[in-house]
Amino acid sequence: MIPTSYYLALSAVLFAIGVTGVLTRRNAIIVFMSVELMLNSANLTFVAFARQFMDLSGQVFVFFVMVVAAAEVAVGLALIVAIFRSKQSISLDELNQLKG
C-alpha cells in the first residue's frame, strides 16, 4: 500500500501550486481555477487520512467541500460573466475602479 505521507506530500504540492496561482496569475478564471485546486488538495488530504483512520467522516467531508465548491463556482462564474459584459475583459489588473 502506498504510505499516507505520499498523498499528503502530493496534496501539499497541489495546495502550494494553487496558492501560487492565486497570487501570481491575473486572469480571473485562472485564479478561480487555482482556488479550486486548493480545495481539491484539501479533499485529497481528507481522503488520505480517512483511509488511514478507516473513518468515514473524512470522506463525507469531501462531499461537503465538493458541494460548496459547486455553489461557489455558480456564483463566481456569474460574477465573471457580469464583469466581462461590462468591461470586455476579465483581467484582474483592469479591476482598478477602486483604488487599492
Partner: protein, 496 residues
C-alpha cells in the same frame, strides 16, 4: 433527527425556511412595491428570536451528535445577528429604492447569509464551521455586486469573492490537517486527542510529535482562513476596496455581521478546540492583534472617503477584538471566560455603533455613490442637528470615549488583556485609540465646525434606525451592568 436536534437547529431552520418562502412570495410582489418583501422579511428574524425561546434557559444543548451547540454564547450572538439583520432591513427599505436597486432578492439573500451566521455561532464541528462560513459568504458575494451593472460594485464583488474563496481554501486545508492530526473534526474530540495524543479510530496510538505538528499547521491555516473573514492584518487588503464598492447597506452588514461571524468561529474554535496549543497561538495572535490595530488606525488617518475610513476603522476594531483571543487562551478559566465575555460585549457595542454610523452614511449618500467624501459632511449639524449629534455619538463610541458603549467595551477588553498578562498589548490598544481619535473627531469637526451644504435624507425608517442605535450606544455606556453580565454569562460551555 431527534427533538433536541430539531430545537437546536430551529432558529436557523426558521430563518432559512422563511428566506425560501420569501423567494416564492417575491415572485408575486409587483416591481416598485418590493418594500412589501422587506417588511415581510422582518418576520424571519422575529421568528428566529421566538425559536430561541425554546432553548433551555442558562443550560446548554448539543445536537446532531455534538456538531451543533445551543449555549449562552450562541444565544448572545444570535440576538446580535438577528438584531443587526432587522436594522439592516429597515435601512434597506429606504436605501434600495434610492440607489435604484430595489429587488426582492436582496432580502432573501440577507436572510440566508444571516442563517449562515447563526449556524456559525452554533458550530461545534469544523465541518459545520466550514458550511456556515460558506453559507455566510456566498450570499454576501452576491450582495456585494448587488448594484450591478455599476462597475465598482461588480469589482467589489469580484474581489470579495476571489479573496473569500482563497481564504476558504486555506480554511479547508487547515481543517484537513487538523482532521489528520486528531482523527476527528469535532471540537471536543480535537481537545481530547490533543490532550491524550491518541487518535480515535486509529488502530494504534499515533505518534504524538507528528500529530502535534500537524495540529499546529492546521490551526495556523484555519487562523489564516478566518483572519480573512474578520479582516485582520495581514489579511485585510481586500477590505477597503470591497467596502467602498459594495452598496452601503451591504457594506454595513458586512462590517458587522461577517466580522462577528468570523469572530464567533475564531473564539469557538480556538478557545474550545486548541487550548492545548495556546502557548503557540496566543503570542502569535497577540502580535496579529497589535499589527491590526496599528495598521488599521494609521491607514484610516489618510482616508478622505467615509466608506474607506469606516473600512479601515473596521480593520482596527478587528484588532481590538483580537486582543481577547490571547487572553482567552489563558489557562485560568476565570480569565478565559472573562475575555470571551468581553469580546462578545465588544462585538455588541461595535455592531450597534457601526450600524448607526452606516445609517448616517446612507442618509447623507446621494445617487450613484455621490456624497461619500468626508467633505460632504461639512455643515451637517446646521441642517440636521439630530443626525449630526447621533453621528458624533457614534464617532465618540468608536474612539472609546466615555460615556458611550465603546468606552465600556474597550475598558473591558483592555482589562481582559492586562489580566492575562498582555499589558503591552493593552498599551498598544490605548495608544492606537488615541490615533483613532484624530480621524473620528475629524468627522465631528467637519459636521459641526465647517460651513457647508451637507444634505441628508429624512425617512422614518432611517431615523428610527439611527435613533435606536444612538440611544442604545448611550444607554449601554451609562448603564452597562445588565448587558455586560449577560455577555459574561454567555461563555463557551462546550468543554465545561
Amino acid at each position: 433527527m431527534t427533538q433536541t436536534d430539531f430545537i437546536v437547529l430551529l432558529p436557523v431552520l426558521v430563518l432559512a425556511g422563511w428566506a425560501l418562502v420569501l423567494l416564492l412570495v417575491d415572485l408575486f410582489v409587483p416591481a416598485g412595491r418590493k418594500a412589501l418583501t422587506g417588511w415581510l422579511a422582518l418576520v424571519g428574524p422575529a421568528g428566529a428570536v421566538l425559536a430561541l425561546t425554546l432553548w433551555p434557559n442558562g443550560g446548554a444543548l448539543t445536537g446532531f451528535g455534538g456538531m451543533l451547540a445551543a449555549d449562552g454564547f450562541a444565544v448572545f450572538l444570535h440576538l446580535l445577528f438577528l438584531g443587526s439583520a432587522a436594522l439592516i432591513i429597515l435601512l434597506a427599505l429606504t436605501y434600495l429604492p434610492r440607489a435604484g436597486i430595489e429587488r426582492g432578492e436582496f432580502y432573501v439573500l440577507l436572510l440566508l447569509t444571516v442563517s449562515g451566521m447563526l449556524l456559525m455561532a452554533q458550530a461545534a464541528d469544523l465541518i459545520v464551521v466550514f458550511l456556515a462560513l460558506e453559507l455566510l459568504s456566498i450570499p454576501l458575494y452576491i450582495l456585494a455586486g448587488f448594484a450591478r451593472p455599476r462597475l465598482s460594485s461588480e469589482e467589489s464583488a469580484m474581489k470579495y469573492f476571489l479573496l473569500g474563496a482563497f481564504a476558504s481554501g486555506f480554511f479547508v486545508y487547515g481543517v484537513a490537517l487538523t482532521y489528520g492530526a486528531a482523527g476527528s473534526t469535532n471540537l471536543n474530540a480535537i481537545v481530547t486527542a490533543a490532550q491524550t495524543g491518541l487518535v480515535q479510530g486509529a488502530a494504534a496510538a499515533q505518534a504524538l510529535p507528528v500529530a502535534r505538528s500537524l495540529l499546529v499547521a492546521g490551526a495556523a491555516l484555519i487562523l489564516v482562513g478566518l483572519g480573512f473573514k474578520v479582516a485582520a492584518v495581514p489579511f485585510h487588503m481586500w477590505t477597503p476596496d470591497v467596502y467602498e464598492g459594495a452598496p452601503s447597506v451591504v457594506t454595513a452588514f458586512m462590517s458587522v455581521g461577517a466580522k462577528a461571524g468570523g469572530f464567533a468561529a475564531l473564539l469557538r474554535v480556538f478557545v474550545t478546540a486548541f487550548p492545548g496549543l495556546a502557548p503557540q497561538w496566543a503570542s502569535l495572535l497577540a502580535i496579529l492583534a497589535a499589527l491590526t490595530m496599528i495598521v488599521g488606525n494609521f491607514a484610516a488617518l489618510r482616508q478622505g472617503n467615509i466608506k474607506r475610513l469606516l473600512a479601515y476603522s473596521s480593520i482596527a476594531h478587528a484588532g481590538y477584538i483580537l486582543m481577547a483571543l490571547p487572553a482567552a487562551g489563558s489557562s485560568f478559566a476565570a480569565q478565559s471566560d472573562y475575555a470571551v465575555g468581553s469580546a462578545l460585549f465588544y462585538l455588541l457595542a461595535y455592531a450597534l455603533t457601526t450600524l448607526g454610523a452606516w445609517a448616517v452614511v446612507m442618509a447623507v449618500e446621494r445617487q450613484e455613490g455621490d456624497g461619500l467624501a468626508l467633505t460632504d459632511y461639512a455643515g451637517l449639524a446646521a441642517r440636521r442637528p439630530g443626525l449630526a449629534l447621533a453621528m458624533a455619538l457614534f464617532m465618540f463610541s468608536l474612539t472609546g470615549l466615555p460615556p458611550t458603549a465603546g468606552f465600556i467595551a474597550k475598558f473591558s477588553l483592555f482589562r481582559a488583556a492586562i489580566d492575562a498578562g498582555y499589558l503591552w498589548l493593552a498599551i498598544v490598544g490605548v495608544l492606537t485609540s488615541l490615533v483613532s481619535a484624530y480621524y473620528y473627531l475629524r468627522v465631528v469637526v467637519l459636521m459641526f465646525m465647517r460651513p457647508g451644504a451637507a444634505q441628508a435624507l429624512a425617512r422614518p425608517t432611517l431615523d428610527l434606525a439611527v435613533g435606536v442605535t444612538a440611544l442604545a450606544t448611550l444607554l449601554i455606556g451609562l448603564l452597562p451592568g445588565p448587558l455586560l453580565d449577560l455577555a459574561q454569562r454567555s461563555v463557551l460551555t462546550l468543554t465545561r
